[in-house]
C-alpha cells in the first residue's frame, strides 16, 4: 500500500493546492477580463474625469491597446487555472464528460471558463500590432461584442469560484452567501491590482504606429503627432493607474470589512464546525496567516501604500494584494471541515496515518 494514503477522512483535504491556485487564478483571470471590459466601456467617462474635455472620445479609444496585455494575462491565467483543475482530477481523461448533460454547478463553471477564455482571446486578437494589419482589424463590432462577453463571462467565473464552495451544504464554513461575495470582491481587487501593473506595457505603442498616429492626427498637427501620442499614452496609463488605485483601495476596504464580518459571523455561528474553524482563523492554526499575512501584509499595507505617497507604492501594493488573494483561497480551501457525527473524530484519530510499517508490502519470512 502506498505511503501516500491518507486514511483519516477528517484531516484529509480532498481539494488541495491546485484547486487553491485555480480558485485564485480563476478569480484573477475572470476579474481581469471584467475589469478591462469595464475600463473600456467607461473610457469616455474616465477621460472626462481626467479633464481631457473634447479629446475624451478619441483618447478613450486608446484604452483597448493600453489594456491589451492585461486582457491577455486574464486569458492565460484562466487557462493555467483550467489546466490545474484538470491536473488535479483523479481520472483526467474523463474531463470532457463535464459537458455531458448534468445539473452540476461545475458544468456552469467550466462553461463560463471556456467562454471567457474564448471571447477574451478573440478580443486580444484585435490588439496585435497594428502594422500586421490583420484582416479582422476592421471588424470593430466583433471586438466590442467580444469585449463585452469576455467581461461578462469573466465576472461569472470570478463569481462562480465562490459559488463552487459556497453551495456545499456539507461544509458549514463555506456554505454562506457571503463567500461568493467575498471571492468576487477579492477577484476584482486582485484583477485591479494586476491591471495597474500591466496597463500600457504592451503592445509598445510608440509614435510610429499608424493606429496611434491616426488618433494623434485627429487632435494635433502632424508635426507634433509623435509627442502627442507619447503624451496621450502616458495620460491614459497614468489615468487608469490612478483610477484603479483608488478603485482598488475601495475594494481592499470592502474586502477587509467582508473578511471581518465573515469571521465574526462564523465565530458566532450555531454550527459548531463553522465556529471551530473560525476559531482556527482567530487564534488557532490559521491565525498568523489570517491576521499577519492576510489582513496586515496582504490588505492593510497595500491600503496604506495606496493612500500614501510612498515611492514605488504602485508596484508593491498590487503585488501584495495579489499574494493576499492567493492566500485567501488557500485559507478558505483548507477550512473544509465537515460537520462531525459524534464519535467520528475519536474513530479517525486512532486509525493509522498511512506510513506505518505494517501497511508496507509484507516481507517474506524466509
Amino acid at each position: 500500500m502506498s505511503h501516500m494514503m491518507h486514511p483519516n477522512k477528517l484531516t484529509r483535504h480532498y481539494w488541495v493546492w491546485p484547486i487553491a491556485w485555480y480558485l485564485f487564478l480563476g478569480g484573477l483571470g475572470g476579474g481581469t477580463l471584467f475589469a478591462t471590459t469595464m475600463l473600456q466601456t467607461c473610457g469616455h467617462a474616465i477621460c472626462e474625469l481626467l479633464g481631457l474635455g473634447d479629446y475624451s472620445g478619441v483618447v478613450a479609444q486608446m484604452f483597448g491597446p493600453a489594456l491589451a496585455l492585461a486582457t491577455f494575462a486574464g486569458v492565460v491565467f484562466l487557462g493555467v487555472g483550467s489546466a490545474l483543475l484538470i491536473f488535479e482530477l483523479g481520472q483526467w481523461k474523463n474531463f470532457i464528460r463535464v459537458w455531458i448533460a448534468s445539473t452540476s454547478i461545475m458544468k456552469w463553471g467550466a462553461t463560463f471558463l471556456v467562454l471567457a477564455m474564448v471571447f477574451g482571446f478573440v478580443e486580444f486578437l484585435f490588439f496585435l500590432p497594428p502594422q500586421w494589419n490583420l484582416f479582422w482589424y476592421q471588424w470593430i463590432w466583433l471586438r466590442d461584442v467580444c469585449t463585452a462577453l469576455a467581461g461578462l463571462f469573466g465576472f461569472c467565473v470570478a463569481f462562480y469560484t465562490g459559488c463552487l464552495l459556497g453551495t456545499q451544504k456539507s461544509k458549514p464554513f463555506w456554505n454562506t452567501p457571503l463567500l461568493p461575495v467575498l471571492f468576487t470582491v477579492s477577484a476584482v481587487s486582485t484583477a485591479t491590482a494586476l491591471v495597474t501593473i500591466l496597463v500600457g506595457l504592451w503592445p509598445a505603442i510608440d509614435g510610429e504606429t499608424p493606429f496611434a498616429l491616426q488618433i494623434a492626427n485627429q487632435i494635433a498637427s502632424p508635426d507634433y503627432a509623435n509627442q502627442v501620442v507619447v503624451m496621450v499614452i502616458a495620460t491614459v496609463t497614468g489615468g487608469i493607474t490612478e483610477v484603479m488605485h483608488k478603485a482598488d483601495a475601495v475594494m481592499v476596504i470592502l474586502e477587509i470589512i467582508l473578511l471581518l464580518v465573515y469571521i465574526i459571523c462564523m465565530r458566532a455561528s450555531g454550527n459548531l464546525t463553522a465556529k471551530r474553524i473560525a476559531q482556527t482563523w482567530i487564534s488557532g492554526s490559521k491565525s498568523l496567516l489570517f491576521w499577519g499575512g492576510m489582513l496586515i501584509v496582504g490588505l492593510g499595507v497595500p491600503l496604506w501604500l495606496y493612500l500614501s505617497e510612498v515611492p514605488n507604492a504602485g508596484l508593491i501594493a498590487p503585488v501584495l494584494i495579489l499574494a493576499s488573494g492567493l492566500l485567501l483561497r488557500f485559507l478558505v480551501l483548507y477550512s473544509d471541515g465537515r460537520q462531525l457525527i459524534p464519535g467520528e473524530e475519536a474513530y479517525y484519530a486512532k486509525l493509522p496515518k498511512g506510513n506505518e510499517e505494517f501497511l508496507q508490502p509484507w516481507k517474506k519470512p524466509y
Binding site: P7, Q91, E357, F358, P361, W362, K363, K364, P365
Partner: protein
C-alpha cells in the same frame, strides 16, 4: 475515455462454483462458513446462514479468511535453521526430510534423557490435539501442555470433581436469569452475544460481573464492577446470602447434595459486608445479585475466562459458583446449566488419545503435577475413574490432564526437577501468550531443540530449529465438540487441499509418531477425514447414514442428541454419587474441601508494601476485537482498525498522573514494564488499569539491531511481561497463573527509555537471575495432609492403606473387600478367604491352598479330590 477500473467483484453463483461447508478457524467458536470454490480456489467466503452457532454472522476475523489463506507472511514449507538460533536464516527442506530429522533428534534425546525430556507446548484450540496426545503417549512423555490453565480447564475439572461433569451448557432458552461472570461476549463471543441480546429483549435478566464497563456490561440489567481478581470473594458473599436468606432449593439439597451443613457453617465467615470490602462493592449490590440469581429460577451462570486467570484466587470462586448452581437447583434442569457428559453416540477425543500407552511411571514424571494436582494426572485419574463408572467414558485427557506450562519453561532454565531438552510448539507463541514473558523468552532461546508448527514467523518460531508449515482455515476439516467433552458436535469440511507443503497438525503428529518408532497400525487413519469418519461412523446407527466424513458434513453438518435433562437420575459422577458441596476429591488431593478464600496474587490487603510502590490494580487478558490472543496482528485489514496497543485509565487517575489521552505510557509491575498508549475514559475504576493483551509487531524486521533481544517487539507492549507465574501466585489447585488483579504503576514514557529483557525466577526486575529453584518455591497454601480413616473395622492381621483407602493383607498383596468380607488380588481378581488366605475356586465352589489342596467352603476342612 478511461476504462481502467476493473470490476473485481466475484460471482458466487457463477457456473462451476462449488459450495463447501467449511468453518471459521480464528477462534474456537468455529462459526459456519460457506466457501465458494472454483477450480480448486476459494473465490469467496461468507457466514453460513444455516449454521446453528452464527446463523450467517461473521466477525472481523471470520471475514479475513482469504487474506489469511495466502498471506505473503505465511510459512508454506518446512524450514530448517541455517544460521545461529534466532538469526532468521533458513533452509527450505521437504516435509519428509524434516520429519525424519526431527524424529532422529527426539529419539536421541529419549535415549539419553528419557522421553520426559521432550515437552510439547500449544495454545488455544486451533489444532486436533487428540493426535498430539496420541503421539506423546506413544512416545512416552507426560509433558504436553496448553494455555489450558488460563481457559476453562481448571473450572471444568473443579466442577466435574464436585458435580460429576461440568455444567457448561447454558439452557438459555428457558432461563430467567444469566450471570455473565468475567465474560464479555460483546468482544469475544459474538454469536453468544446475539443470543443474550435476543433473550434480554424477551425478558431474561442479565447480570454482568466485570471490572470494566465492557460492551456486554453496557447491555446488562445489573452490572457489578468488582475489584479485578476479587471475583471469588463475590461468589462466596453471594453464597452466604443465598444460604442465610434460605434462597436455595431445599429438596435438591436434601436429595442430591452432601456436605450442606458443613458448607453452611463454613460460609458464615464470608458475609456480604466482608465480600464488599474485598470486591469494592456495596454489600447491597452483592445481596441484590444473589437474590436476582436465586429468585429467578431457572437460571444460568455462564463461565468466563476470568475464572481461570486470577492465580491463587481462582479456585474458591469456581467451587463457590458450582455450589451456587447446585443448591439453587439449577443443575441439568430445563433453563439451567446442563451437564452434557461425554458423547455416548460417537467416538470421543479421549478414546482417540491412547492414554493407556503412557506407562504409570511416566505419568508420575509430569512436571508440575505434584504441585498443581487437579488438572494433572493425580486429579484427572480420580475424576476419570468416577466418570467412567457413571458415564462410561472419561473427559479428554489432552487439556484436562497436562504438565504445568510455566513449570516446564522453568525446568528448561533450571534443570529442576529435570532438564527438559526439546520443546515442540504448535499453534502457540508462548512468549506472548504464556505468563512472565521475559522468563518464557529466555526458555525459548535456551531450549536445546525447538520445533515450531506455525502459520507465521512468530518470535518463538524465529528461535526454532525446524518450523513446520501448518494448514489453517479452509484447508482442514474441523469437528467442533467443546474439547471433546460434550455430547453434540458440529462438523466442517475442508474447502480446498492445503496450499504448498502445509499439512494439518494431525499429519505432523502422525508422521512424527511413526518416524519415532510407533507402529503404523496405531495410526490407521491416513488423513484427518479418515479419523473423523471413525468418529462419526457410530452415528450410522442413529439414522445418520453416511459413508464418509465429507458426506456426513454435506448431509447433516451436525449431530445433537435429543436434549435430555436430569441425567443424574443414577447419581452424579462423584465418589458419593451426589453433588459434593464438600468435595471428597479435593480433600483427597490435599486441598480445602470447602471453598476457602485466598486473596488475589498481589493485593493491597496482603501485600501493603507492594501496594505502596504499585498503587494501581492491573487487569488484562480480556479479548478485544479484532484480535484473538496474539493472533492476526499481521492481517492488514484487521490491524488497520487497531494498529497500536491501548490501555484504559480513568480520567481522574490520568489527570493525577499527568497523562493525556493517547500518551505513550509505561505500565510496570514487579516483573517488568511495557508501553501502551493511554485510552482515558471512565470505563474502569480510578484504581484500575485495563491493558490489552497479545501485542507484538510482526511487521518489524527481526534482524534490526533494536529487535535483536526481543524480536518483533515481543516484549515491548506485551502485557504478559507484567503477569506472574511464580508458584506462590499460581492457584495451587488448578495451576492457573495470575493475569488479573496484579499491582502496577503507570507513568508517561519518554523516547530515551529502554527495554530490559533480563529474566528472573521468581519474577522480579529487582533481582534478575534464578534466586529460588522451582522445587523450593512455596505454594500459596500448603497441602492439607489427607488421612482417610476406614469406615469399617480393619480385621486383625490387615493394615489400612491410605492411598488405596482399603485394608490390605501385605504378605500376599491382597486387598480387603469390606462389603463381602473377602480378600482379593487386584491383579488376578481371585478372591481369598479372610481367615485361611486360601483362594476361592468358583468352578468347584471350594477353597484351594497354594499347593492345590482343596478345602470345604464352610468347614475349611480338606476335601479329597474326586476321581482320584
Amino acid at each position: 475515455m478511461s476504462t481502467k477500473y476493473k470490476d473485481k467483484s466475484v460471482d458466487i453463483h457463477a457456473p462451476g462454483v462449488e459450495v463447501k461447508k467449511s468453518c471459521c478457524y480464528f477462534c474456537h467458536q468455529n462459526c459456519g462458513v460457506l466457501a465458494y470454490v472454483k477450480d480448486g480456489k476459494v473465490i469467496k467466503i461468507e457466514g453460513d446462514p444455516n449454521h446453528p452457532t452464527n446463523q450467517g454472522g461473521l466477525c472481523c476475523r471470520g471475514n479475513i479468511a482469504l487474506q489469511h489463506l495466502d498471506h505473503p507472511g505465511r510459512i508454506n514449507h518446512p524450514l530448517k535453521r541455517a544460521g545461529e538460533k534466532g538469526e532468521g536464516k533458513w533452509e527450505q527442506i521437504p516435509w519428509d526430510q524434516a520429519i525424519s530429522e526431527i524424529a532422529d533428534k527426539l529419539n536421541a534425546i529419549k535415549q539419553e534423557s528419557g522421553a520426559e525430556a521432550v515437552a510439547a507446548a500449544a495454545g488455544t484450540l486451533r489444532t486436533d490435539d487428540w493426535s498430539r496426545r496420541r503421539f506423546l503417549n506413544l512416545f512416552g512423555t507426560p509433558n504436553g501442555f496448553h494455555n489450558a490453565l488460563l481457559c476453562w480447564i481448571p473450572t471444568f475439572m473443579m466442577e466435574t470433581a464436585i458435580g460429576g461433569w461440568s455444567p457448561f451448557e447454558t439452557d438459555l432458552g428457558a432461563a430467567k436469569v444469566v450471570i455473565l461472570w468475567g465474560f464479555n461476549p460483546g468482544a469475544s463471543a459474538m454469536p453468544g452475544m446475539r443470543g443474550y441480546t435476543d433473550l434480554k429483549k424477551a425478558g431474561m435478566k442479565i447480570i454482568v460481573i466485570d471490572p470494566r464497563f465492557s460492551e456486554t456490561a453496557a447491555k446488562a440489567d445489573l452490572w457489578l464492577p468488582v475489584r479485578p481478581g476479587s471475583d471469588s470473594a463475590l461468589a462466596l458473599g453471594m453464597l452466604n446470602v443465598i444460604i442465610n436468606e434460605g434462597l436455595y432449593d431445599q429438596s435438591f439439597v436434601e436429595n442430591w447434595c452432601v456436605g450442606f451443613d458443613e458448607l453452611s457453617e463454613h460460609i458464615q465467615q464470608y458475609s456480604p459486608e466482608w465480600a464488599g470490602e474485598q470486591t469494592w462493592l456495596d454489600p447491597e449490590q452483592i445481596r441484590e445479585a444473589a437474590r436476582m440469581y436465586a429468585n429467578n429460577k431457572p437460571g444460568c451462570i455462564q463461565w468466563g475466562c476470568t475464572a481461570d486467570q486470577m492465580g491463587k484466587a481462582s479456585a474458591s470462586g469456581m467451587q463457590a459458583r458450582e455450589i451456587m448452581r447446585a443448591i439453587c437447583g439449577n443443575l441439568d434442569c430445563p433453563g439451567g446449566d446442563l451437564m452434557p457428559g461425554p458423547s455416548q453416540d460417537y467416538i470421543t477425543d479421549e478414546e482417540l488419545e491412547g492414554n493407556d500407552f503412557l506407562p504409570e511411571e511416566q505419568k508420575a514424571k509430569q512436571i508440575g503435577s505434584a504441585k498443581f494436582k487437579l488438572t494433572a494426572w493425580p486429579g484427572y485419574s480420580i475424576i476419570a475413574k468416577n466418570c467412567k463408572e457413571v458415564w462410561g467414558k472419561a473427559p479428554t485427557a489432552e487439556w484436562m490432564c497436562e504438565a504445568h506450562g510455566p513449570s516446564v519453561f522453568k525446568a528448561i532454565l533450571t534443570g529442576d526437577p529435570y532438564q527438559v531438552r526439546a520443546l515442540i510448539c504448535s499453534a502457540t507463541n508462548p512468549i506472548n501468550s504464556y505468563g512472565d514473558s521475559k522468563m518464557t523468552l529466555e526458555a525459548i532461546k535456551k531450549v536445546e531443540f525447538l520445533v515450531v508448527c506455525e502459520y507465521w514467523m512468530t518470535p518463538t518460531a524465529l528461535y526454532a530449529d525446524y518450523v513446520m508449515p501448518i494448514a489453517g482455515a479452509l484447508e482442514r476439516p474441523v469437528i467442533h465438540n467443546n474439547y471433546g467433552v460434550t455430547d453434540s458436535m458440529i462438523c466442517a469440511e475442508r474447502a480446498i487441499q492445503p496450499l504448498y507443503e502445509r499439512h494439518p497438525d494431525f499429519n505432523f503428529w502422525r508422521d512424527l509418531s511413526i518416524a519415532t518408532g510407533a507402529p503404523a497400525d496405531q495410526w490407521p487413519w491416513q488423513e484427518l477425514e479418515d479419523a473423523f469418519y471413525y468418529v462419526t461412523y457410530p452415528l450410522n446407527q442413529k439414522g445418520y447414514a453416511h459413508s464418509s466424513y465429507n458426506e456426513f458434513v454435506q448431509k447433516f453438518r451436525m449431530y445433537y442428541p435429543p436434549l435430555h435433562y436430569y441425567k443424574y437420575a443414577n447419581g452424579f459422577a462423584t465418589p458419593s454419587r451426589r453433588v459434593e458441596l464438600k468435595s471428597s476429591i479435593l480433600e483427597e488431593l490435599g486441598y480445602p474441601s470447602l471453598p476457602t478464600w485466598v486473596g488475589p496474587a498481589e493485593n493491597e490487603v496482603d501485600d501493603p508494601e507492594v501496594a505502596k510502590q504499585y498503587p494501581l490494580v492491573l487487569t488484562t487478558g480480556g479479548g478485544f476485537m479484532p484480535f484473538h490472543h496474539s493472533e492476526e496482528f499481521n492481517i492488514q485489514s484487521l490491524r488497520f482498525i487497531k494498529h497500536e496497543p491501548f490501555f484504559t485509565i480513568n480520567p481522574e487517575t490520568a489527570a493525577k498522573l499527568g497523562i493525556a489521552n493517547g500518551d505513550w505510557c509505561w505500565i510496570e509491575t514487579r516483573r517488568g514494564r511495557i508501553r501502551q498508549r493511554a485510552n482515558v475514559e471512565p470505563s474502569v475504576d480510578p484504581r484500575v488499569i485495563y491493558a490489552q493483551r497479545g501485542w507484538w509487531y510482526p511487521e518489524r524486521d527481526p534482524k534490526a539491531a533494536s529487535s535483536a533481544d526481543q524480536p518483533f517487539g515481543c516484549l515491548e507492549s506485551n502485557v504478559n511481561v507484567l503477569t506472574s507465574v511464580d508458584d506462590e501466585h499460581c492457584d495451587p489447585i488448578g495451576g492457573s497463573w495470575a493475569n488479573r488483579g496484579l499491582l502496577c504503576k503507570v507513568y508517561k514514557a519518554t523516547v530515551t527509555d529502554t527495554f530490559d529483557t533480563r529474566f528472573s525466577i521468581p519474577g522480579s526486575s529487582a533481582e534478575p537471575g534464578v534466586t529460588v529453584k522451582p522445587s523450593e518455591q512455596k505454594l500459596a497454601f500448603e497441602p492439607i495432609p489427607y488421612d482417610p480413616k476406614p469406615s469399617f473395622e480393619v480385621p486383625e492381621g490387615l493394615t489400612w492403606d491410605k492411598d488405596l483407602k482399603k485394608a490390605v493383607y501385605e504378605p500376599m498383596n491382597l486387598v480387603y473387600d469390606e462389603n463381602s468380607g473377602w480378600l482379593y488380588d487386584p491383579k488376578t481378581s481371585v478372591y481369598y478367604d479372610l481367615q485361611t488366605k486360601y483362594a476361592y475356586d468358583p468352578t468347584n465352589e471350594v477353597l484351594v491352598d497354594e499347593k492345590g489342596q482343596q478345602y470345604d467352603m464352610t468347614t475349611k476342612q480338606p476335601v479329597e479330590k474326586g476321581g482320584k
